[in-house]
Symmetry: C3
Subunit: 151 residues, 3 copies
Amino acid sequence: MSIEAKLAELGIDLPEAAAPVASYQPLVVSGSTAYISGQLPFVGGKLVTGKLGDTVMLEQGQEAARACGLMILAQLKAAGLLERVERVVKLGGFVASVPSFSDQPKVVNGCSDLMAEVFGEAGKHARSAVGVPVLPLDAAVEVDAIVALKP
Amino acid sequence: MSIEAKLAELGIDLPEAAAPVASYQPLVVSGSTAYISGQLPFVGGKLVTGKLGDTVMLEQGQEAARACGLMILAQLKAAGLLERVERVVKLGGFVASVPSFSDQPKVVNGCSDLMAEVFGEAGKHARSAVGVPVLPLDAAVEVDAIVALKP
Amino acid sequence: MSIEAKLAELGIDLPEAAAPVASYQPLVVSGSTAYISGQLPFVGGKLVTGKLGDTVMLEQGQEAARACGLMILAQLKAAGLLERVERVVKLGGFVASVPSFSDQPKVVNGCSDLMAEVFGEAGKHARSAVGVPVLPLDAAVEVDAIVALKP
């Protein structure tokens, strides 16, 4: 089954690939590896802002992380690479957090679980998840990715 | 000398490879490169928690970083890759820090020095080390790694 | 035109490549990829310290990010790789920030714009930019890089 068909089966409608908010590219291919820039969480076209442990609840954080993942998929699609994903290799999850909030892994699962749903075994990835005091535009979550491509 | 023999010579007993705390893999191989997920510091089976500059002293932070490194080695061993390490390419060190603590390099050396001890020249790596306000489960340090593998 | 000639044309004088502040290498090559360690911002030989949103203004932060970029170029030159840059693949920008400062993208542009100036199309990269509470030696900005090399 193609990834597009899988997305349709899951009822997932990808957002439009967001333009970079500064002087960089959303995705660069080097050899057979795609590096996707840190993606911010847009839900219903609106950026999810604020910090976990403050104004953003765990469930909202998870939804935000999933939205980052959808944007990673949208960037792959915009680059014509969605059907060439061989393996989601690594995700880097940054969670805007007050110093007492330590559930970053549960938050970033919103993105990780999406990759497993969409790509199955090929979606199982290495990951780091950390708290940060603040993200660009006050986003709640940012996720970047390394993806191996089929020839 | 094999790495296992080197570890024995150094008196290093690797911990059991920790299961991921969420929806990801501890290690993914892409081509000849292994990506190891961010590892947390277990000393005597107990997670080292707290922040540098607050309740965690420099020496404890260094020991925690070394523990992250031991877990990186444990993950390589669990994946059957310990003897195939060609080069430790890059470490990413995240140190839970209050805003006035700026000795992250000394902390992460706990991990870097371990790699040099165990792998010699092949253990010399590129690195980034940064402060973060908080880490998963309130861990004091998290380190992820990129490792080049022999065929 | 060689990169050295381009730098001369732009009036850019690279700093001396900084020695690592701890137990790691400034640059490691794996296959055809160079990983450059997180570089700190030296302007006029002096480290730019402090946090954005506190004592460091946006323009100073941008200059600091550019200084990190110059040090990335200096490390490539010191390794004899400056003329072998095929593509700047990925930059990781860490900006020391108070929790209310969310202009990390504008700060890290100081480094991104430099890469575009020096390398043209080959300088267009993927990127992540995040806030952190504190960096090594109280630096204002740290940037690491992944660079693809020509054979």
